[in-house]
Symmetry: C2
Subunit: 207 residues, 2 copies
């Protein structure tokens, strides 16, 4: 169907430098306050350039990112925050609204150029929306790692009125907001003590 | 509510070593064939130890992993593969079934020890299942990066009969399979040419 390419070097891959893993996984924390240090447009771009490389089903890439940068738009967004999320989003130098695109299949010729006709398999809107959601949540995991890879802290939040966010930010598109992520250098008292992770006995089994 | 701790060093964080990012994002590929080289139990454990560190809503950690390692169990699993997925899963030295746990809230005292009573907020099974799915797909993104961080290739697949997988592997639990991931060193002709990623114009907007 598609040409394969040989890979002679990949078997030599070693585990990634522990310092990088500390920054991405072990030491990284969900920040609740941020410094004033601005985030450059180049850094925001670099975050997307990493995020997009992560694997998704059929390469479909249903995740969409809205960077809410202007004061006016930030205020509109924060009106939809629940709980303590308004103050967190106010203090972040950059805020991303993550959405899934209900019509991701329109990009089939771009992301699956060797078989664009497979777009026809996805004419049902409900099943297309389910696939869009699943793969956007998956890619949100890549996004979090991409933010941390830039030396920044991410503050993901789901306690928002997403119908309101959609009305204000996605009204003219097929995008559907599902998460808001604060991005920046951590500020003072940025985090609570780390919450415990599940021991392997609770989450992993081998058969 | 909970004590905060100060963070004086985090603002000095720099972008992660480009070599690590090549391995995790830029050069990493979804492998379709694997070498025979076995994966040690320690490496499988290290994959979970990284995966679990990624942020989830309220720290709820709804992702579950079943490593299917014995020959007999591998055969049972492969009976539920769609398309070309059987041969891919046959050639992988390790195969993970990823599931979401419908009763993740039972672990509230473990993952949210300062407010275990919030478990009561999640008595509705439908909304609990939705949260479980979303956060498990998010953590699947962390899992993919954790596999690559070990110097291994991941081959995620969703074309499986997951009802059948659940009947064979999750019948006595509240786990629900949603993805199968092959894990190992890539074999010969491991991948197709990389498929194009969406340009920023198609996936990112700034307001």
């Amino acid at each position: 169907m598609t040409e394969t390419i040989q890979n002679t070097e990949a078997t030599a891959l070693e585990p990634v430098d522990p310092k990088a893993l500390d920054q991405l996984f072990h030491d990284a924390r969900t920040a609740n306050t941020f410094s004033d240090e601005p985030i450059s447009a180049e850094t925001l771009q670099a975050i997307y350039e990493l995020t997009k490389m992560g694997p998704t089903m059929m390469n479909l890439q249903s995740l969409r990112i809205t960077w809410v940068q202007s004061e006016a738009q930030r205020s509109r967004l924060i009106a939809h925050a629940g709980g303590n999320n308004a103050s967190k989003a106010e203090s972040a130098p950059a805020v991303a609204v993550l959405s899934w695109d209900a019509d991701w299949h329109e990009n089939f010729p771009v992301f699956f150029p060797h078989a664009p006709e497979r777009k026809e398999m996805f004419s049902d809107a409900d099943s297309r929306a389910l696939i869009a959601r699943q793969n956007a949540w998956l890619a949100a995991g890549y996004f979090m790692m991409a933010v941390r890879a830039q030396g920044l802290a991410a503050g993901p939040m789901t306690g928002w009125d997403f119908a309101g966010v959609d009305a204000d930010f996605n009204a003219d598109s097929t995008w559907n907001a599902f998460m808001v992520v604060n991005v920046g250098k951590p500020g003072p008292d940025a985090w609570f003590p780390r919450l415990p992770r599940l021991d392997e006995e609770l989450a992993v089994t081998t058969v």
